[in-house]
Structure formats: structure tokens, C-alpha cells
């Protein structure tokens, strides 16, 4: 029903010109597909995970030599093949599950409680996932969590190992510095988007590369630990570290509390605050937002600052939570997993939280699966990728499970 004239205006009437600021507004179309993916319902997410696990199971079975052996005499004894498949898959996923939660067979009691490793791995994913979620709700696809985590960790690190402050104050300074580092990095993309219309996807990807190279340069020069030959920084001051929640036997730290507080804060921001109302309006329909008096460009800049600050906090939980010192691998693949986590969480704060827990569990359980069931840890990566695939193609899941797409009422030609 949109009345965009597909015909040129009658001569000699002037052709309709792009309205000023239309660059703010145009590429809403570009994110339309991602919006569709993001706005599907939670059932799709759950089913995507299940289907990915099933396919992962098939891969586990066909790579297992026992299954291969049993299938050699399949026609003589088909039952043997099926029981081999069952044994193979249930062993692998059983090990994954126990490794991520509780494993009574582990040798040490610390090793038995994999749940705390899950929480440890989930912590930066929650924060970085929230960064992607928040920006997305304002219509921006922040691919740059990776670079923002690196910059957050770098800023936090500089404060953490180069300054020497009293307890509590030092930690607060580290957290603040990390948030600022991430905010600056994402803010660049937000600013360029608002002022020049540069697409945030391209800018944030490039900023990722710049961040990696920049931190590597610093690590080879100014930030290199004295006496070290590797590009690695000195260790953080003890005062600068996030306190461990369960003593020295577990890595789980106060970063988890920070992450949960962030979930609550982002949920409030998006659903209850006027600022979040503005962000959601800009994300869903920037033209209507502009007509209603919202300043779209300012929204883009501020949401990227907040998003970057969240990713920067993920960097803080890395360096001040688990890693202790800065190296160029500080962000691992968290920045990219965060995108998947936000997708899986349907760009909702609590959805992101649970998706991050799942991914944390994959990470914690993956090792246990590799060791105890002799299944390649790459299977976990495959399962994660399959999840992305199925979420990215909601019609695929819908047709597999015959879920009807919800069609808006005004579905006329």
C-alpha cells in the first residue's frame, strides 16, 4: 500500500528529490532481512538448536570408527549399527552435557563442577551479545564487537597493569576504562554512520582489523612485558582483578554479576525507558521516528556508544576476569560468537543471556567431549555454525516443522 510513485512526476513538475537526511533512512531496507531473522519467535531458536544437534549427531556417528565397523555387516546385523550409532552419539553428547554441568566421573571435585566453567565462558558472551542486541534494536548491525572487546581490554589493561591504585578504586577504574575503550571504538562507527551515512557493517568490520593490528603494535612496543620475547603485556595488578566468586579453585568471577546487571539494565533501557523507546522506533522505522521529532543521527551515535561500552565490558571480564594479561588473542572468537548469541536470543536481553549460557556450555562441554568421548572438538564449532544457518533461514525451520508464517492482515496485492 506504500504510495511511492513508480512513475516520474508529470512534466514539467520537478522529479521528487531525495529528502535531506534520507541517507539515515535508506539502508533500513538493508537490515530488513536481518530484522526478519531477528524477529522470529523463540520456538524457531529452540528448534534451530535441536536440528543442529541432530545433524551434529549424524556427523559424530559417521566419523566414529565403531559405527563404520558395524555398518560393514549392516545387512547381517542392522541392530549392531544402530546400537553403535546410539552409543557413539549418546556418549559424545553425554560428555558434552556433563562437561558443561556436572560430571561425577571427573577425577577432581573442581573438574566435576563444569557448570562454573560454563558460567565463566558465558560471561563475556553475555556482555558482547548484549552489545549486538542493543545496537540491532536501533537498526544497526554491530559486527564490530570483536574490535570493541579488544579496545576495551586494552584500555582496561593499561589502567590495570600500568597504574597502581588502591583496592576497589583500581577495579572500578579498570571497568570504566574498558567501557570507554569499547565505546570509543563503536562510537567511531556510529559517528560515521550518522554524519556521512557510511554503513556500520563495513566500518565495524574494518575497525576489527585495525584493533587487532593496533593492539599487536602496542604489545610489541609500549605494552610489552619487560623481559618477555612474546607480544604479551605484564600481568594486571591484583587490585585490578575482578574478584573470584568461588575461591581460587574456580575461574568464575565477579564479571558474571556485572553481566547479569547489564542484562537487567539493557532490558530496562529497551523496554521501559524513553531512550529505548526512541532506539526501537529508530530501528523499526527511522522515517516515522524522524517525523515524530526524534533525531535519528543522535540515536545512532548514542546507541553505538552504549553498545561499544557493553562490548568493552566483555573485554574487561576477559582481561580482569580470566586472562590477567593482554595479548592479541584476548577476544578469542567472542566478538563473532556474540553475533550468533544475539541472533539466537532474538535480540532480546534475556534471550541473549540464555543463548550466551548455551554457548558457554558448548565451550565448557566441548573439551570434555573431546577428551572423554574422543570426538573432535570441531563438532562443537559445526553445531554452532549449523545453529546460525538454521536461524538465518527461518523458512527452512518453518517448513521442516510446518510452522505457519505469521502474515500481516493487510496481505493484499
Amino acid at each position: 500500500m506504500s504510495e511511492t510513485p513508480s512513475i516520474p512526476a508529470p512534466t514539467p513538475a520537478p522529479t521528487p528529490a531525495p529528502t535531506p537526511d534520507s541517507k539515515d533512512v535508506k539502508d533500513a531496507e538493508g537490515t530488513r532481512v536481518i530484522r526478519e531473522i531477528m524477529s522470529g519467535n523463540a520456538i524457531i531458536s529452540v528448534l534451530a538448536v535441536l536440528v543442529a544437534l541432530v545433524i551434529g549427531g549424524i556427523l559424530i556417528a559417521i566419523t566414529d570408527p565403531r559405527v563404520t565397523a558395524a555398518s560393514g555387516y549392516f545387512f547381517a546385523d542392522p541392530g549392531a549399527t544402530f546400537s553403535a550409532i546410539w552409543a557413539s552419539v549418546s556418549e559424545a553428547y553425554g560428555a558434552l552435557w556433563r562437561g558443561a554441568t556436572y560430571d561425577p566421573t571427573a577425577r577432581t571435585w573442581q573438574g566435576q563442577l563444569g557448570i562454573f566453567e560454563t558460567l565463566t565462558f558465558a560471561t563475556p558472551l553475555i556482555l558482547a551479545g548484549l552489545a549486538v542486541t542493543l545496537a540491532f534494536r536501533a537498526g544497526l548491525f554491530n559486527i564490530g564487537a570483536q574490535g570493541q572487546i579488544i579496545m576495551g581490554a586494552t584500555f582496561a589493561g593499561v589502567v590495570g597493569f600500568q597504574m597502581h591504585l588502591p583496592p576497589v578504586i583500581h577495579l572500578l577504574a579498570v571497568i570504566l576504562a574498558g567501557a570507554i575503550g569499547g565505546a570509543i571504538w563503536a562510537g567511531i562507527a556510529g559517528f560515521l554512520k550518522a554524519r556521512t551515512g557510511a554503513h556500520e557493517v563495513i566500518v565495524t568490520i574494518m575497525l576489527n582489523y585495525i584493533a587487532v593490528s593496533f593492539v599487536l603494535y602496542l604489545l610489541k612496543n609500549q605494552l610489552k612485558a619487560p623481559g618477555s620475547t612474546n607480544p604479551i603485556s605484564p600481568q594486571m595488578d591484583a587490585n585490578a582483578m575482578l574478584p573470584l566468586l568461588l575461591g581460587p579453585n574456580f575461574r568464575v568471577n565477579a564479571g558474571l554479576i556485572l553481566a547479569i546487571l547489564a542484562v537487567i539494565a539493557v532490558a530496562w533501557l529497551l523496554n521501559r525507558s524513553t531512550l529505548g523507546f526512541e532506539y526501537r522506533a529508530i530501528g523499526a522505522n527511522p522515517k516515522a521516528a524522524r517525523t515524530a521529532g526524534m533525531i535519528v543521527s543522535r540515536g545512532y551515535i548514542t546507541v553505538m556508544l552504549i553498545s561499544g561500552a557493553l562490548a568493552g565490558l566483555a573485554g574487561v571480564t576477559q582481561i580482569a576476569g580470566t586472562e590477567k594479561s593482554l595479548d592479541s588473542e584476548i577476544a578469542g572468537s567472542i566478538g563473532f560468537d556474540a553475533i550468533t548469541v544475539a541472533l539466537l536470543g532474538r535480540s532480546k536481553p534475556w534471550g541473549t543471556f540464555f543463548a550466551a549460557l548455551l554457548f558457554g556450555a558448548f565451550k565448557a562441554g566441548g573439551t570434555s567431549m573431546a577428551v572423554n568421548a574422543d570426538v573432535s572438538i570441531d563438532i562443537v564449532a559445526v553445531v554452532q555454525s549449523l545453529i546460525v544457518l538454521f536461524i538465518a533461514a527461518p523458512p527452512l525451520i518453518r517448513s521442516m516443522f510446518r510452522i505457519k508464517a505469521v502474515r500481516p492482515e493487510g496481505a493484499k496485492a
Binding site: M1, S2, E3, T4, P5, S6, I7, P8, A9, P10, T11, P12, A13, P14, T15, P16, A17, P18, T19, P20, D21, S39, R272, S273, T274, L275, F277, E278, R280, A281, A284, N285, K287, A288, A289, R290, T291, A292, G293, M294, I295, K404, A405, R407, P408, E409, G410, A411, K412, A413
Partner: protein
């Protein structure tokens, strides 16, 4: 050629767009399909044109069942369609556009346009189309572009022509010309299916009228039937088509536009030196064919255009250079031209849309926190007051029909005390029943002493609401005439004559030839 639709049903999931529709179009008749927006007219025609496959039912041509798997099949069977939005390539010539998709070629795939040119000249001469095959389409007026679409269909030997809302983009004069062309086509043996929701036109051209409501045929009518009778069939209840409004009691001139120009990025003037003012308690309607500067005028008032020259004052305060928020806060209520693009956030609930430009104000929010109870209460009150048909005020706005969406926008914009109310196309795509309601609300706002500006390309609406009428053409003001001016006068002004010249031409004893491009 006789066309028959038997029991055509088309459903999209749970939505039944067409429900067992039977329709017979006799050879050489003009058959009108009358129905509100969303009644299922376009869906039915898309089924007929092979764009949709019917869920049930069959299509018969000369009593033989046919099956179309695409428009190519339909065209081969002699069905041609002119879409509401033309399917023309602007930078191609008429001949190139007509040839497109059915190019005749000589050896080695060399395009043979001469053949097409000859056919265009033949058809053009036969029906008096007056179309030059070598003119660029983008240089042609909309009315002539529409004829190119008709030629496209005729060159492909269409015996049945479907015209989907053909008058929506035309000036009144062009509409009259189209009707003449339709009569000639009919005389030449072509059947025409004419789709419209404009009762006046349907009555003027039809041999038979079929009325569709909510996907069903609710009856057929004779073109001599009374307008109100047709309207009630279309809406399903009695409607009053004339607005009983008292004469305006204009007060102080509080809104003044002086030498306003709006430029695009290339420096081209989309609005050129426009000056007018509106008094408290009067409705100024801005008429004109779409794309003649109306959008720029309203957007300039709201502060959406940066390249603006001149002055806009409200109660003596300058609005040019103010932000949108400041303009809204100074008491301007604004209903944008395209409600889905600019007026609503489709995935937001009705309640959220009702505070889209009020969310920073008490009581809807305090210290940056939305008060959801107040917002919900406000929404329920507005939904009741404006009779928005919805299951809940928490439903998403894009689940509403066009008329109900427009009620939401209007409810929001009329919610605060206003010093100026501007509405662009307030009833575009809105059903007849809602139009009545929306018009009454607009007049009520006028009567409460607010200056009102209505921008509309529907002449009927302009004449219905206006106390004074301003006509824009190519960004220039052609003049401001009284609200009771004649349709002919307005038509001439919409075609680019200023008020005095237009009046002079109407007063001249012989009507001159209308100025068509060669």
C-alpha cells in the same frame, strides 16, 4: 470475447482475500469492480492475470476453462492489465517500452522497432490516443503514460483490458479523457474491467457494476443506482457522503507562509516562492496532482527539509530552522502523507504508536522511564474514542487496516492542544465509512478554532473539506480560490493555469483544444 470467473477463492494462510467470487464480463462491456481498499479487488485481478494461482475456482474464456501460470499465459489468452503504478522504463521511448518483452527482431537478433512504431501509430490513430512512438516516456504527462500502458496491452491483442485504479494518478481533465478512451475501446469491441472505489467515475462509465466487500461479491448494481446506495453496498451500512459542516468562522491569521522555497540537493526548486496564510477556524485545502510540491510544503513546515528559503510563522514565531521536535512542541499536529512510512512504526503496538511523539512528556514518562499503565490507559481511551477496530490496544499497528491505522495517527496528533493542524492525504486508502469519521474529526478541530491545512490529491475530498483551496503546480502556487469553486476551474489550475487564466478560459465561449504534447 466473454470472460467468466467461477467460484474463485484465494486465501493467504488464514486470510481469505477472495471468497467464491463469480463474475461474468460480457463481450464489449465496461464492467466495474467497486469495493473499498482491501476488499479483494486487486487480488482477484491478479488471479485473473496469472500472478496468483486461485485456491479454488476456475476461469473461463468464451465458456472454455483456462489455466494461467503467469501473466504471459493471460496475455496470450487476450487479457491485458494496466497497473495502478505503471510498469514503464522512463528512459526508454514509447516504442521501446511497447516492444519490451515482445520484441520483434530481424536476423541476428537485431531489434526491429519499425514494426512496433507502425502498430503504435495504427492504434493511436484508431482510438485518437495522440501518442508519439519516439517520445521518451519520462517526458510524457501521466495521462499519456497511461495510454502507453493501454497501447502495450492492445499491441499484444488484448480483448479484455483490466484497469486497476486508473484514475488515482490523473487530473480531472485527464480522467475525462480516459473515460472517452474507454468508451472508444468499448466501441471497438474490447471488454474493460474497471477497478475503482470512486463512485462518480464508476457510475459514469460502467455498463455493469459488481460490488465486492471483504472478499465476497455482495451484489451487482445498475450504473443508474443512487450514489448513496452504491456506497452503502460497498461499506455494508448506510453512509452519509456529504459532510454537513457549518460555514467557517475565520479568526485571526495566525499561520503565515511567506516566499517559501524548498530545494533538493541539486538546487532544483521543488517548492517555488509560495506565500499564503491560514486563519484560525478555517480549512485551507492544498490541491494538485501528486508530486507538485505538496509533500515539500508540509515537510518544510515540520522542519524536515534543510534547504528551505523564506519564512513560516505560527503566532508570530518563526518555524524555519527549528527542529521537528521544536515545531511539534510549538503546537503543530502533523499527519504525514504516507502513514506506514512516516506516521507509524508498524511493529510497535497501537499504544506505543499513540505516544510516538509524546513519549518524553508527562504523564507518559517521568525522568526517562515510561509509565506503561498510563500509556495503556491512554490507548484504551483513544481506541474507544476514535473507534479503532482492533482486538487490543497492544496489537501491532501493522495488523490494522488502512483506515484504522489512519485513525491511530489522527488520534495521536489531535491529542494535544493545537495551534496548527496539517494533514496530508488524510483519507488515502481509507474505506468510505472511516472517511466520514475522519472528516468529521477534522472539521471539529477547525470548529474549535485551529487553523487547518489539508493536502489532498483527491478533488472530491478537497471540495468536501475546504473553506479555501490553494492549488499547487510544479511547486508554484496557482492561486487560492474559494472552497465552492467548480471542479473545472480547479482542474485547469491543477494543469498549470493560474486562477485568473483558468477562470478566463472557462468564461470563453468555445472550449479550446486541450494542450497535449505532440
Amino acid at each position: 470475447m466473454k470472460l467468466e470467473l467461477r467460484g474463485i477463492t484465494k486465501s493467504f494462510g488464514a486470510l481469505i482475500a477472495n471468497d467464491h467470487i463469480d463474475l461474468v464480463v460480457a463481450s464489449g462491456e465496461i464492467h466495474s469492480l467497486l469495493g473499498e481498499n482491501g476488499a479483494g479487488k486487486s487480488t482477484l485481478m491478479n488471479v485473473l492475470y496469472g500472478l496468483y494461482e486461485p485456491t479454488a475456482g476456475e476461469i473461463l474464456i468464451d465458456d472454455k476453462p483456462v489455466k494461467f501460470s503467469g501473466p504471459a499465459d493471460a496475455m496470450a489468452a487476450g487479457i491485458g492489465m494496466v497497473h495502478q503504478h505503471f510498469m514503464l522504463v522512463p528512459v526508454f521511448t514509447v516504442a521501446e517500452n511497447v516492444a519490451l518483452g515482445a520484441e520483434s527482431t530481424t536476423f541476428g537478433g537485431v531489434l526491429n522497432l519499425e514494426d512496433t512504431r507502425r502498430k503504435i501509430r495504427e492504434i493511436s490513430a484508431k482510438f485518437g490516443f495522440n501518442v508519439d512512438p519516439d517520445a521518451l516516456v519520462e517526458d510524457l504527462p501521466v495521462g499519456v503514460q497511461q495510454r502507453v500502458e493501454i497501447i502495450k496491452a492492445l499491441v499484444r491483442n488484448a480483448k479484455i483490458l483490466i484497469l486497476d485504479e486508473p484514475t488515482a494518478v490523473l487530473t480531472p481533465q485527464e480522467t475525462d479523457e480516459l473515460m472517452e478512451i474507454m468508451a472508444q475501446l468499448k466501441a471497438g469491441g474490447t471488454s474493460i474491467v474497471f477497478i475503482s472505489h470512486k463512485l462518480r467515475e464508476v457510475k459514469a462509465v460502467s455498463d455493469t457494476i459488481t460490488v465486492i466487500r471483504r472478499g465476497k461479491v455482495v451484489g451487482s448494481a445498475d450504473p443508474t443506482a443512487a450514489t448513496t446506495e452504491l456506497a452503502s453496498m460497498m461499506v455494508g451500512r448506510s453512509v452519509s457522503l456529504t459532510l454537513n459542516k457549518a460555514d467557517a468562522v475565520p479568526g485571526e491569521l495566525t499561520f503565515k507562509v511567506t516566499n517559501l522555497s524548498v530545494m533538493n540537493d541539486a538546487g532544483h526548486r521543488l517548492l517555488d516562492d509560495v506565500t499564503f496564510s491560514v486563519a484560525k477556524g478555517e480549512i485551507l485545502a492544498v490541491a494538485g496532482v501528486q508530486g507538485n510540491g505538496q509533500s515539500e510544503l508540509t515537510e518544510a513546515v515540520l522542519g524536515l527539509h534543510k534547504r528551505t528559503l523564506g519564512s513560516i510563522t505560527l503566532d508570530g514565531k518563526e518555524l524555519v530552522g527549528k527542529s521537528v521536535r521544536e515545531v511539534l512542541d510549538s503546537g503543530v499536529g502533523f499527519v504525514p502523507e504516507d502513514r506506514q512510512d512516516d506516521g507509524l512504526v508498524g511493529e510497535f503496538s497501537i499504544a506505543e504508536n499513540l505516544i510516538l511523539d509524546l513519549y518524553t512528556k508527562a504523564p507518559y514518562s517521568r525522568r526517562g522511564t515510561l509509565n506503561r499503565a498510563v500509556i495503556a490507559k491512554n490507548a484504551d481511551a483513544k481506541v474507544a474514542e476514535f473507534d479503532v477496530r482492533t482486538q487490543s490496544s497492544q496489537s501491532a499497528a501493522d495488523t490494522l487496516s488502512g483506515g484504522n491505522q489512519q485513525k491511530v495517527v489522527l488520534a495521536r496528533e489531535l491529542a494535544r492542544p493545537l495551534k496548527l493542524f496539517i494533514a496530508s492525504q488524510p483519507t488515502r486508502g481509507v474505506d468510505v465509512g472511516s472517511i466520514e469519521f475522519l472528516h468529521k474529526r477534522i472539521v471539529a478541530e477547525r470548529d474549535s478554532g485551529t487553523p487547518v491545512i489539508i493536502v489532498s490529491t483527491e478533488l472530491d475530498e478537497v471540495m468536501e473539506l475546504a473553506d479555501r483551496i490553494a492549488v499547487l503546480f510544479a511547486g508554484k502556487l496557482m492561486g487560492i480560490v474559494p472552497g465552492k469553486s467548480s471542479r473545472e476551474l480547479l482542474g485547469l489550475m491543477m494543469a498549470g493555469l493560474n486562477a485568473a487564466d483558468a477562470q478566463a478560459q472557462l468564461d470563453a465561449p468555445v472550449a479550446p483544444e486541450n494542450g497535449e504534447l505532440p
